[in-house]
């Protein structure tokens, strides 16, 4: 097996993209120079015939998908040149791609010690397109289900607001399927197969790391919305997803940049100008803090035995909580802590199968969540003040205060914190920028 040398690659090529209506399969083809060709396939099962008036929108959406999904392959070598052989890009499209490739690969670049600034350059030259016509899509939302608490809160908020929804997910996963089935909504499971050539190059030394998967999934869902007829793609990213996880060499690195508001706004505007003015793309939870989402989720008890926010890539789940919650990653720690003020203790420990707050060995991990003499973890977790308020609430509760992590917090940390910063209530208030249609704002602001 010969080694693959990323530095030897000159150009990343967008070769072609096509859609086979009979099988509902989108084929996205890329290559490095003339040497390695990659084909990614996205399967849209049971796709209905496309009405002629949606054809231009569909083509634009498919092109977006081709551009977004390329990031997985581009990153294997990060070559100096990008060639788009499917026709020239207009300025707005080129800028969108450059933003996604540079910021979405921020963590990858940091891990691999690469500076992407100025390196990602998409060719442009086409004039801005004429404004697309409204598509008059049926009023229905595609809600991507991730297996965690957030999308389930979104589903229930939309249900409350009387919005018709379809629960959608990409790829095979027991965990996500179980959550999606619990919603009782119509289900749509899209298939995605990454080119095996990429795996082969990875074995031979290609660059690897985190890709902006929400950008790819957003593009897949936009294609699905046009194809199946939905007028909204509703994500479940909350307020703190926009915050940078780390600053290095004067650049901000956000672990989940494509879940942030900047990407959401940029893609939303691009869709209005290139696909359809009446296809909504937004995150329903954007004005909410993690704690506010968690409090809502605490009441949704029927999801408690099936969901998981754990960062481990569980695709097969067993009956035991340990097959959904590793108990060792910051997501497990944070979700446990954030649910604790809102659930009876036996109900919470039944979800996780253990009591993470009574494990003295986890004190440093919780310190990081509190941002107490430590940095926030490189993960999508709530803000330090949310964790501090939650722990302060537990320190006042008889059934919690003897637990190792809570007792230590009460003894060593709490006295040093200003009391006025520890209230839960202000953290539960919605706020901040969002792109939620006005008709849905009421359910968000309704009393929990």
């Amino acid at each position: 097996m010969s080694a693959f040398d990323p530095a030897a690659v000159r150009a990343f090529r967008f070769v072609r993209a096509g859609f086979d209506a009979a099988s509902g399969t989108a084929e996205l083809v890329y290559s490095f120079d003339d040497a390695h060709e990659f084909t990614e396939r996205i399967v849209f099962p049971g796709a209905p015939p496309l009405p002629a008036d949606r054809r231009p929108a569909f083509d634009a959406a498919l092109r977006l998908l081709h551009l977004m999904a390329g990031v997985s392959y581009y990153k294997a070598a990060v070559p100096p040149e990008i060639r788009v052989e499917t026709g020239p890009l207009d300025e707005a499209t080129a800028v969108l791609c450059e933003q996604v490739y540079e910021h979405g690969l921020g963590e990858f670049a940091w891990q691999n010690r690469i500076d992407l600034r100025g390196r990602v350059r998409f060719p442009r030259g086409a004039p801005a397109p004429v404004a697309p016509l409204p598509l008059g899509l049926p009023r229905a939302s595609l809600v991507p289900i991730g297996g965690g608490k957030d999308s389930l809160v979104t589903v229930e908020l939309l249900r409350e607001a009387g919005e018709p929804c379809t629960a959608v997910w990409v790829g095979a996963s027991d965990l996500i399927r179980a959550c999606a089935e619990r919603t009782g909504l119509p289900l749509l499971n899209l298939g995605r197969s990454v080119s095996p050539v990429l795996f082969e190059l990875n074995r031979r030394g290609a660059l690897n790391g985190h890709v902006p998967v929400t950008a790819i999934n957003s593009a897949i869902l936009v294609v699905a919305a046009v194809l199946y007829g939905h007028d909204a793609v509703v994500f479940s990213n909350e307020r703190s997803a926009s915050a940078a996880t780390l600053e290095a060499d004067g650049r901000e690195v956000n672990h989940q940049w494509s879940k942030g508001y900047a990407f959401e706004a940029m893609l939303g505007e691009w869709l209005a100008a290139h696909v359809a003015p009446d296809l909504a793309y937004f995150s329903l939870l954007r004005p909410l803090s993690e704690l506010a989402v968690t409090r809502r989720f605490a009441r949704l008890t029927r999801y408690h035995p099936v969901f998981s926010s754990c960062n481990r890539n569980f695709k097969i789940v067993g009956e035991r909580p340990a097959s959904r919650w590793c108990g060792q990653c910051p997501k497990c720690h944070f979700v446990f802590l954030a649910l604790a003020p809102f659930l009876p203790k036996p109900q919470l420990t039944a979800i996780f199968g253990r009591n993470l707050l009574d494990d003295a060995a986890l004190a440093p991990a919780f310190d990081a969540l509190l941002e107490w003499q430590a940095h926030k973890p490189f993960e999508c977790v709530g803000e330090g003040r949310e964790s501090r308020a939650a722990l302060a609430a537990l320190a006042a509760r008889a059934e919690w205060r003897e637990d190792a992590v809570v007792a230590r917090f009460a003894r060593e940390i709490l006295p040093a914190l200003p009391a006025q910063d520890l209230a839960l209530a202000p953290l539960l208030e919605p706020g901040g920028p969002h792109r939620i249609p006005p008709r849905l704002l009421a359910v968000l602001h309704a009393a929990v």
Partner: protein
């Protein structure tokens, strides 16, 4: 108690059938057959039935909807429809009894009493399920020509009021009188010889309908049995009785053929779901035997619960685990010998309506357990309790816990035998231990997360320690898997050595002791693996299992690489097979010195790391290298604690908490982690284990950006006892393919050892002396733990046969021992053999793995040499 004469002259049997047993026509045909068989025995039959499956839930949904003020008509219509369809399915022309109840349902749903859903109304609604199913049954029995009559259970099951019962319990969770009733016997004897009646329902003194509540139908059957002083009560269900453990957790759990009432009660209370514990008391009081039988497999013996005189040896009968337990630990803050502390504490529990199960107490502490009742989990009652308790003590809530209970009469007399079983708890955090005051159980409360894997291990240890006396065939029946599992059809093939006896005896004639390794069997095992597990991209043989050059050559010839754990193993492979390409070697050492890593890396052999130490202290060795990282995901499985290779007390693997530090060091050292590995025990005979562990490892791989391969180790089990089922390789193949499809980016590696060589090897030893002592027959052979240390080290079981007289009647129970001056030098205990004579050859089977390679010269006795066949 002896039944009054008037009762004894009429012999009744009570048969009870649950919801799934009455919801399909073929099941009713079974019932008819069983009723006829009982009639042929000359018994009068009372059939007690539950509602059709799902109907009680539907009736409860009507009640809930009424509580919310919703319309009920659609729900009632759906229920009527379900029953009328079933009338058709049963081929009944009409069902007048049923129509009455349907009319009653409609009236209850429409009438003014539905407003507010009062308890008496609820009881009447809930009762309709059984009233309808029993009516259908009466019609069907009649149609089949059985002389049967419908009986209203409410005529005879009368509520026995309980002091202080809540209003709810007085209607929906009642108890009944159950002293033998000669008037009832006389009255029922005047009716048809087969009566069909309802479970779950009774009436109060005013004749109003009440409900028995949870476990109600079994309890109704038990009440009828007691009132009629029946010959027996038969509970017909979907499994052949009670088992030594939950068969879902322990497929090798044995059927309990006979139990006394108290043991059965204890087993039902501590976890078994097959019987509700409350149904045992009435039959015990009346001395009526109770059978549990499988409706689908009536030929199976089932469990008989009765007042058996203890016949067999004292034994643990069952082990179970209940999860969702909450412990409340209360530390007294008052005075030394504070009077009334316990009374104050329990008064607070009573005030909050919480019932305590287990109790442990000390001078200044009392700890109690709470079962996961509805209100504990869904309301803030625990918080409120703790706030009140805080006034008198320091409180700590410990949750979630599981109570692991061993049940058996006379547990205290079994303590000595339990020693190796209790050792299992050594490494665990035990929160509470209680021994029931009736000496029927011993309970350990542990963290819930560790309980599930614990039960199968403890069950196996109980068997091995002979605390669970499987040799008592009067009490213990066949295993659940032999009765029910799909694997039951997989027969163990005739072992190769049984068909090549002459050749083996000829080898023995050249001198004993001697190991013989059938190379063609090694090759066959390798081919079997490759054929059944195509998802595996690369195979390695863990040569520590057997380093015989002929075995290595045969396995390498099948395309396997070789996994070495020492530099000396590497040297042996390279010397024996100089042409084997270096990428076919894998070096996976544990606590090896630096020099061995240097030697392996120097030859270009891929290395597996499993600790931080090498990167912390010798980072320069690893610059620009690729390694596989061995992880410890935190739990292991295997046939003995010394061969469990994952988990907190294991020396193998990098703990997950060290992964980020390892990656940081790797980044600094310029090292790439291109694969991850975990070896999760050995001797695993269950296919599902591989699916779970492979998926678990794959779920970890995301953290390693350069990871391209997953090495799931070996662990493919080889049965050691003749009654164990071989691993279902096809099922393992399907499981691996399923997981691989979900994680296509990783290539799959496996490195079996034992599986390839174990069964290919046998140890031949000659009988030296036979001695009778202490009631045992000791058979000495010319080698022991110096050749084969596994029985002494792991309590491993190896089948032993008398090869000189293979196939002859096994007329003696022998302890087979070696000549080493060590009391642990035992190769096999309690073996049934044709009584060996001096000079005869015994064959110890399945010794190809970890036999010769672990041999020693203890006592300066040369171990058996190993030769290829």
């Amino acid at each position: 108690m002896p039944a009054p004469a008037a009762i004894a002259s009429h012999r009744f049997v009570v048969l009870k059938f649950g919801g799934t047993s009455v919801a399909a026509k073929p099941r009713w045909d079974n019932i008819v057959e069983l009723v006829r068989a009982r009639r042929r025995e000359g018994l009068r039959v009372v059939v007690v039935v539950s509602a059709l499956s799902g109907v009680t839930n539907a009736l409860q949904a009507i009640i809930d909807a009424a509580g919310r003020g919703e319309p009920l008509d659609d729900r009632a219509a759906a229920l009527a429809d379900r029953h009328l369809k079933f009338v058709d399915e049963l081929g009944l022309a009409q069902a007048p009894l049923l129509l009455e109840w349907l009319a009653r349902l409609a009236a209850l749903c429409a009438g003014p009493r539905r407003e507010g859903a009062q308890l008496p109304w609820q009881a009447e609604v809930l009762a309709l399920g059984e009233l309808m199913s029993s009516s259908l049954g009466a019609h069907y029995l009649e149609r089949c020509g059985v002389e049967a009559e419908w009986l209203d259970a409410r005529e005879w099951l009368r509520v026995a009021p309980v002091p202080n019962a809540s209003d709810w319990a007085s209607w929906l969770s009642v108890n009944c009188h159950c002293r033998p009733n000669p008037d009832m016997v006389a009255a029922l004897a005047r009716r048809a010889p087969v009566l069909i009646t309802q479970g779950f329902i009774a009436s109060d003194r005013e004749g109003r309908t009440c409900i028995l509540g949870r476990g109600g139908s079994d309890t109704s059957a038990s009440y009828f049995g007691a009132l009629l002083a029946a010959q027996r009560v038969e509970i017909w269900t979907d499994v052949a009785g009670m088992f030594t453990a939950n068969p879902r957790q322990v497929p090798s759990a044995r059927l309990l053929r006979r139990l006394d009432y108290e043991e059965a009660q204890e087993i039902a209370t501590t976890g078994a779901k097959v019987l509700h514990p409350r149904c045992l008391n009435p039959v015990r009081e009346a001395g009526v035997p109770l059978w549990v039988k499988d409706t689908n497999r009536p030929e199976l013996a089932g469990t008989e619960v009765a007042a058996h005189a203890t016949r067999g040896p004292a034994s643990v009968k069952a082990i179970s685990a209940r999860s969702g337990i909450t412990l409340v630990s209360m530390e007294s803050v008052g005075m030394w010998q504070q009077v009334g502390f316990l009374a104050d504490v329990f008064a607070i529990f009573k005030r909050h309506g919480l019932s305590v199960d287990l109790i442990g107490s000390a001078e200044t502490n009392v700890t109690v357990s709470l079962d996961p009742s509805e209100n504990l989990v869904t309301t803030d009652v625990l918080g409120a309790l703790c706030r009140d308790l805080e006034a008198i003590c320091r409180v700590k809530v410990i949750a979630p816990c599981a109570a692991v209970t061993m049940v058996g009469r006379g547990m205290r007399s079994l303590l000595a035998r339990l020693a190796p079983v209790l050792a299992e708890f050594g490494a665990l955090d035990v929160r509470l231990i209680t021994q029931s005051s009736n000496d029927l159980n011993l309970t350990f409360v542990v963290d819930e997360a560790i309980a599930a894997p614990l039960v199968p291990r403890l069950h196996a240890l109980l068997v091995k320690a002979e605390a669970l006396r499987l040799d008592d065939e009067h009490t213990f029946g066949p295993s659940w898997e032999s009765l029910y599992a799909a694997t039951a059809s997989r027969l163990r093939p005739v072992p190769w050595w049984a068909t090549r006896r002459e050749a083996l005896l000829a080898r023995a004639a050249q001198g004993t002791p001697r190991y013989v390794l059938a190379i063609d069997e090694v090759r066959a095992a390798a081919r079997r693996l490759k054929a059944a597990l195509p998802a595996v991209d690369r195979w390695f043989y863990a040569m520590k299992a057997n380093a015989h050059p002929a075995a290595l050559a045969a396995i390498a010839g099948e395309g396997f690489g070789i996994e070495c754990v020492s530099a000396m193993e590497i040297d042996a492979v390279r010397a024996g097979m100089p042409d084997l390409p270096v990428e076919q070697l894998l070096f996976t050492p544990n606590f090896a010195p630096r020099a061995e890593y240097e030697r392996a890396l120097g030859q270009g052999i891929r290395v597996t790391l499993d600790s931080l130490h090498p990167l912390q202290h010798w980072p320069e060795l690893f610059r620009a290298q690729e390694v596989v990282l061995r992880l410890d995901p935190g739990h292991g499985a295997g046939h003995h604690d010394k061969v469990v290779t994952g988990g907190a007390s294991s020396k193998f693997g990098l703990p997950l908490s060290d992964v980020s530090e390892f990656l940081r060091l790797a980044r600094d050292a310029g090292l790439r982690v291109t694969g991850i590995h975990a070896h999760l025990g050995s001797g695993i005979l269950e296919a599902g284990h591989f699916r779970e562990r492979y998926a678990e490892l794959a779920s970890l791989a995301d953290q390693f950006p350069d990871c391209a391969r997953i090495n799931i180790g070996g662990g493919l089990g080889v049965p050691s006892r003749p009654d164990e089922h071989p691993l279902d390789l096809e099922a393992v193949g399907r499981a691996l393919a399923e997981v691989k499809a979900l994680y296509p980016q990783y290539r799959l590696w496996m490195e079996p050892g034992r599986y390839l060589v174990a069964e290919a090897g046998v140890l031949l030893a000659r009988v030296t002396q036979v001695k009778r002592k202490d009631g045992y027959t000791w058979v000495g052979v010319d080698t022991g733990m110096n050749s084969l240390i596994r029985p002494a080290l792991y309590e491993a079981y190896h089948e032993i046969v008398n090869l000189s007289r293979l196939g002859e009647k096994a007329d003696a129970v022998c302890e087979v021992v070696g000549p080493i001056c060590e009391s642990g030098d035992v190769l096999g205990t309690h073996r049934r053999l044709p009584l060996p004579r001096e000079g005869e050859v015994l064959l110890v089977a399945t010794t190809g793995a970890y036999g010769s390679v672990m041999a020693s010269r203890y006592n300066l006795r040369e171990p058996a040499p190993e030769e290829a066949l």
